[in-house]
Symmetry: D4
Subunit: 252 residues, 8 copies
């Protein structure tokens, strides 16, 4: 609601075209209509086919099922992340249309067509085999966001030629999401090779001084390659959403 609409409303009240109760009801909602996030968010979701997302960690299967049903009612696609296999059994039994992706630990309820987002695909780069679950959480989220993917897996810096060998891939993507655990050096190298946006995702892969992903995280934050930005440990989902924020911007 902008000032124009507000003036119209008040003129309606002044002229009697709008009843006092109608105006009251609309203005009572005003803080949110005016703030515009809730409604706009809702509309954008409808327009863009953005999936509704449920973060599964720390929720009971009953809660997940309840929220999923509520979200699905609007006809939107639903994405559940961090759904461990035990919960997945309970949830998929209750919701037969849900499809579970074991590697990514996500589940999706796809009922609406997915509108493509971005002209070029996104490069999804992954350092080691053990980082793949995080990369696949990212991939599933990208897929539901309508973003195409070019996978470049198992190209860790200890064998730098594997990355260099396929570096021309970066000429045909819009941005790069780089997933790495252990010492987490891969985004630094990628960030030095390319000029496109680089989103780094540390993983908890490793042991000892890997400190559950904190080393990879800190490594990426202190990257000597300028302009690399970082997500939380294992947060493949967040990287995908960050990519969508960028690609949506470029669409307009």
């Amino acid at each position: 609601m902008d000032v124009l609409r507000l003036r119209q409303l008040l003129e309606g009240v002044q002229t009697g075209r709008v009843s006092l109760d109608e105006a009251l009801r609309e203005l009572t909602d005003l803080p949110f209509a005016d703030l515009g996030y809730a409604m706009v968010d809702h509309h954008r979701a409808l327009r863009q086919g953005t999936p509704e997302v449920i973060f599964g960690l720390g929720k009971t299967p009953e809660q997940i099922v309840g929220i999923a049903q509520e979200l699905a009612r609007t006809g939107q696609n639903v994405l559940i992340t961090r759904l461990d296999p035990e919960k997945a059994v309970a949830v998929t039994q209750a919701l037969s249309l849900l499809r579970y992706h074991e590697l990514a630990r996500t589940a999706t309820w796809e009922q609406a067509p997915i509108e493509p987002l971005g002209k070029l695909p996104v490069a999804l780069v992954c350092a080691g085999t053990a980082d793949i679950p995080v990369a696949e959480e990212c991939a599933e989220t990208l897929r539901l966001l309508g973003i195409r993917i070019e996978r470049l897996y198992d190209v860790g810096v200890a064998g730098i030629h594997r990355l260099l060998n396929r570096r021309e891939l970066f000429n045909h993507v819009s941005l790069a999401i780089v997933v790495a655990g252990m010492e987490g050096a891969l985004p630094s190298v990628v960030g030095g090779l390319v000029a496109i946006p680089v989103i780094a995702v540390p993983t908890s892969v490793g042991y000892g001084a890997a400190f559950g992903g904190v080393t990879a995280l800190a490594c990426m934050l202190t990257s000597c390659a300028s302009g690399v930005t970082v997500c939380n440990i294992n947060n493949g989902f967040g990287a995908a959403f960050a990519a969508a924020r960028i690609l949506r911007m470029t669409r307009s």
Copy 2:
């Protein structure tokens, strides 16, 4: 060097148009011509007016002066970051064309026109007065990158109305860089309000449990607003470069 050029070169050798030594010299350089980063980086810099950057921390004034002179020789603009006031005195005495920005702790040597980057300005949001030096390092870097800025300062979450009051600003910017110390909650709130890319910069402002910026950093990484990405503590420079990566992508 792509396959086309390679075929031309070999045909030149085959037909005698290219001497064996000429071909040998070009192919000996191949790994780097072919890899293309060094040269391409250099050319991109010339084309785009990207400033050459010197990270001042841990370098002696003599080293800084030497590197700046070397870089400036090509006619490019030079940006020095993390230049504390004591060093700045020594460096600006040696390099009279250098201009020091005390608040941002940066120095610039501007000799080339700055080509604009991005149709819309970038929102530079800052939680508190003490965070301003980091925001200004970002602002100076953005300026040299050709990016316009809309400042939104002193809008920390403890007075959430200050931010909400000016939220319409986000309708007219391409992306938001959000700088905050202490509890670092501002990017979460901004990320929930807008759909554009949000780059979060934690600062070391605060004491005690602020842990020198680690709390703000961790807070931003665990943000419940999806798709916010994060830079290192106090890294205003890095956020500006990340913005440039995004804006450059959308230009093509």
Copy 3:
């Protein structure tokens, strides 16, 4: 025992009204009679209907049953916190009057009427669904302390409008307990909105840089909203007791 009583006792000895052994016995007990905490604590509990509390973590089912029986003998209500489901089975089998609250992981043995405490209810604000178990531990404790509750759940800062939408609730409560995990920013925002006491409870909800609740804890401690105080991670019980300390004070 104050100085008056002491003078009376000595006069009694002087005049022979009090035998030497009687005086000796009373004076030997003096430090504790005089310190008065044990007895006074006991009496206060009887007067106020404060539940007797057993912290279940690290105790065997046998120990819990034994302490509960001992406490219950006095006719008081008993509250057991941090009682995981496995122990709960053993404990409730032994104590048939005990009622287990699965979400809150508490058990209660209610045999005395609960005297109301506080004219206004307490606002119990909760950021996300996964934080609810901590909020409910708090709710159960508040209930046994005689304190009414207004729940305000799922109002995390990434959708700040959800909180703002119901902000008038704060006009009708005495104080606010704010429970949040992940980045823990909610108490900062609430603390900036209201002038009533705000007690913040970080939870261990989140992963990676949430560091098991330490990020939320540090975030709350460095809150830029003045006068917010903080409890231990997941300590819903402690927040309820802090509320009771405040409400009891205002009663007198």
Copy 4:
């Protein structure tokens, strides 16, 4: 602005008593009038004599002077915290009415009478001599908030009799603020002795395993005395504001 006022305004427009422009102007401010924090905060400050506060850390003397002048214009009292002696020289030179408190590292500009807050004084308990600066920051803030103080200094737990000896003091105060560094055990003991609210303030006093106050902080958070709440390390100011929140609540 509540629904009643909104209805009155609209009726005014409907009946012509309120011009369209007047209504428009008031409703344009609505999000904040309706949200009510900014205005209400401002009014409360005027009514209650709450000092306006400037957090000095990380601000330049010029910034501090500028903000202080702006705040002082309204006739309010101004409190500056975390003002180190060097800055204090510059600031007090510019603002001759400012009075610097060296021990507390605060400065005050008192131009309005301070309205008393709370019937009983607050107990300000302090473990050791080196913790006094933090306690005095708290004391200065309490003083400007209109709250009386009973000091109980140098009563650390290694000489528990010093505290017990004066425990009757707690019968005549509304709440206790307990300041302690090193092992930070004092709030646990006080919290076990009294039923009134206890606000714990850890200090950075100590060395080695005191970890700059983190040990005292963690100690207070894990206190076995139920219902003790905690402020940030060295945050005497915050404890005073938390006390004001409680005392204000009980006034109404």
Copy 5:
């Protein structure tokens, strides 16, 4: 081997009473005979009835059984610590003379009489019920070392009167071992009450900011009571051995 024995040996060689090969063999062993730790340790064990100890953590049941049998061959008493219940089943099946103490998680094989150590008993002070397993590991070790114990359990600082009420106990003990988790403040209070040696044992009891015992550990190390020394987290065994070192010293 002392200088006397060395002289005798050389005289034996000089006079021909000792063959060159015999002397050579003895002197080749000399560094260790002379250093004397291995042998002396062994002899001291025989003289003093010190139990031979096996640290069970990280050893397989087979390894534990093998070492226990080897140690027991000499007729000594054997103590196994950190033996979790699962391993205990396997180990006690193999070694029928072994007796398992579930609370202390120790097992003992007692075949030699235990010689008393120390004229007075040791005070074993314990803050909470959940700390008892660590205290009992200590108690079992003390028992096998021949040291009598006065238990003083459940006297945490939140109810300081419980400790003060029984403080005369400290007049009749040689030293105090104080076991506490959570905020770990008990040793500070005890250390301020008594002049005897105080050995502090932090436990991992607690949650959140208890950080698995690190808070209690740091709290004890920074104790404001002078001369309290500290063992590792949960190391009841080590405290008992430290007590034995002290009591043995005073015997001579």
Copy 6:
């Protein structure tokens, strides 16, 4: 591919002996042939009998089996590390030629003769019984690398004579790998006794302040014995590879 080969190739094209397409194909591979890591690595493996290694942590049994089969196809020996017993069952069922080493948690598929590496054996020194699994992971890796081992187990610094007693062993080894948990002091002592290279491996053995191996790691890094280098916690495999790097160097 060196310059000589490049000249030959170009001469072939010039003279028509090499077709343009043949040259093109070879030169397209050039960056990697020229960089030489991939090919050279491969050739070195063939020449030296270096085992191909699979890091089992975080990989599914199916992934491990697949990679092992791929590696084994070339006739090389395969080493799988960090293979826990549950996975080992699945993997060895699928690959019948694989042999599992339970203590070392490694599996090997040996189909090629192992060429000896190094004239002298390596000393494998181990502080305590619980450190043996890490030492054995190292031992198995050394064995497949063709390096002989002298074991010196259970010689922790608390019984320094055990180490000194066998110190002559160090006269007959090329280098020492020292494995220790808890306080991790053994490499400091060994490093002070010998002039040969010392590679330190911290283990996660211990509890409380052992911090999962971080204490041993930090202890080794700050060793007062000059020139000791350190591997990651529990990284017996890495120490073996570091030894191979040294021994290979001395062979040439």
Copy 7:
């Protein structure tokens, strides 16, 4: 005050030998006389020549001078610890009888004869030259406590023979205080060599992974030598007091 004295006092009142006011005055002090810490501490100090101690860190020179004068009034010896050179100048100017010990950073005001404590001296063992200031703080404290010292400096574990060479020293001391920084391994080795009490003092000597003494501290806490107890980082004073607690015990 024991029961005997209490009976005598009451009999005095009963028989009129003691006036009511006299008894009242003495009994008003009773809680402390009866609790016995304050008075007994005071008396013990007089009897034993224990120095009164001022911890200088965080106190102003004025505070230190004031407390020192107050303490010195009773004729006792005064010890000031952690007195840095700048403060020492101010303090010694005000108190001309004070003697400053630069290496130990202590000052002493000796006016009473020091009564010897302990039959045998204490071994003061120190790993490196940089640890000496901590050792000397300990030495100065021991001296004022009347305890003789055998110094054994610069015997770090990297040159283990230096320690072994003088190991017979341990046969003639009552206990050992072992001071070490960097990797902090010395107490483990000493604890394995001797059966007497070993008090370990970590120092902040070292850099990088020494983490300001935390590594040495953790190393000592996880020592594989049983029964070593530990003081805070750099706490030479505390180790001396712990020694006094032990030696006093053995005197009775």
Copy 8:
């Protein structure tokens, strides 16, 4: 003293050629002669030209001068590390033959010829300009150890082509020392490129999440390149000594 010498000595006693007192005196020293470290160390130093080293951190200028004079008396070269410029002034004034190296913060007193060690030089690789002081500490130490150096500076991973461009350098060195701060990824890349020993040295260069070098340290420890070993943060000296251990081994 080996067995041969021991037999000779005993034969001397047997035959009367050696007096009993002479033998006694020699054998009393035996543990150390026999242990052989002190003497052998000394002799090896003389034979090998190893410099005597003084670690300057935490030592007073007087102590440094005293130790240097003592060491220099034997005619050896002396190396002082971690000598900050202020101390250097005092030390070089006292010792006029000492030469200070400002960048490396070392001082050397060279009076003996330096015997070359190693056939090939060592590669000294350095990521950034700010890491050079650590690299130069290493270089100075290597120089005094007689080891030649090939410097490869400013080749951080963000510009990977700079390293690859000069990779043939690694074909002509014996081992590589790789110095890097910030994210510390360079040793991983180097370790993947070469088969020679790689010694990694993290530096404290960087800010924020660089955590004073801990991130680079952890990154190197978790390197995915097998067989890289690591030194303490900023420990260029230690890396040089580790190189000497390896090169000395290969000489024999």
